[in-house]
Symmetry: C2
Subunit: 159 residues, 2 copies
DNA sequence: TTGTTTTTGCAACTGTGTTGCAAAAACAAA
DNA sequence: TTTGTTTTTGCAACACAGTTGCAAAAACAA
């Protein structure tokens, strides 16, 4: 499954293409930016500042990672994924860097493993707001057990 | 509107009744607890630890407020309202202390004034999750302009 | 290659969340 | 009402996310 994703990605966006992406966004191409963007593209889950750190090869400064994410955020390359705990980030569908659609999707946070995933294909249903409320953005966070963890529970119960 | 709420409340839960509430929950009745609970009941919005502070008469310690909220949370008296920033808290419908229903409701965070409100009557629509996902809790946060702020914008534009 | 502009790393500070511990308060029983 | 026990509070302290200023280093355009 991970392999599939990697293949999908490599044929979709080669490392060398990333610098082109930065040019499009009028950002200088740097090792840190390339690496962070690549990780965010490759991972299928939303990552926080702290989540990101262990994936980085060179021990880049916290502030740098922070500013990089902020920059990506400003440019619309990534979006915030509020998941109750620390803010997490995921590549925006709109950016063209993700194979996901650009619609607001549902995020699922597993109470067991703690991972937060964007659920592909699941969209936030229309919500009827009271008169006068002007919605701009919506975020639906569902918490519970993810596929992997709920399977583990079922298996355990069967023993 | 605020007045209506106050009236609704005073006829619904008098200060002296609060100590009874604590007994029900096997909690000792203390000034801090009574005050915090009363504020949470009276306010129609979710409050964070910091939001709560200026409403407290005696300058109670941050740790005390924190532990009080945690205790209320454990007992199910209040619930967390994730709103992107700091965690906020609101009285649970289930507790019987709120006139709201006990269903999971939608929260609206205003980008202008920053207030987060529980939208009464608006429920989270059913979401169809992929096979294997076991939902336990859902939180829908809509961001945009609230009634008051969007009205202000409209008025301003008309000038 | 060079001069300019942007990014990085370091240090430092704010604010939230969290815990240990002894003093103070609440409560149950006498 | 007083007393002994249990819980809560306030203080101090720490961890960590978020954030910023500043000078050195890197990226880039000419």
């Amino acid at each position: 499954m991970d392999a599939v994703l990697v293949v999908k990605l490599s044929s979709f966006m080669k490392p060398t293409q990333l610098s082109g992406v930065f040019k499009d966004y009028q950002l200088r191409s740097t090792p840190v930016r390339e690496e962070i963007l690549e990780i965010l593209i490759r991972k299928e889950m939303a990552l926080s500042l702290a989540d990101l750190k262990p994936h980085l090869s060179g021990a880049s400064d916290r502030a740098t990672v922070y500013r990089t994410l902020k920059t990506f955020l400003d440019k619309g390359i990534i979006h915030r994924v509020p998941d109750g705990g620390n803010t997490k980030y995921a590549v925006s569908g709109r950016s063209g860097l993700s194979t996901r659609d650009g619609h607001e999707h549902v995020h699922f946070k597993c109470a067991q493993c703690g991972l937060t995933r964007c659920l592909e294909g699941v969209r936030i249903p229309e919500v009827r707001l009271p008169e006068g409320y002007a919605p701009r953005e919506a975020n639906l966070l569902v918490e519970g057990l993810c596929q992997t963890c709920s399977r583990a529970v079922t298996t355990l119960a069967a023993v």
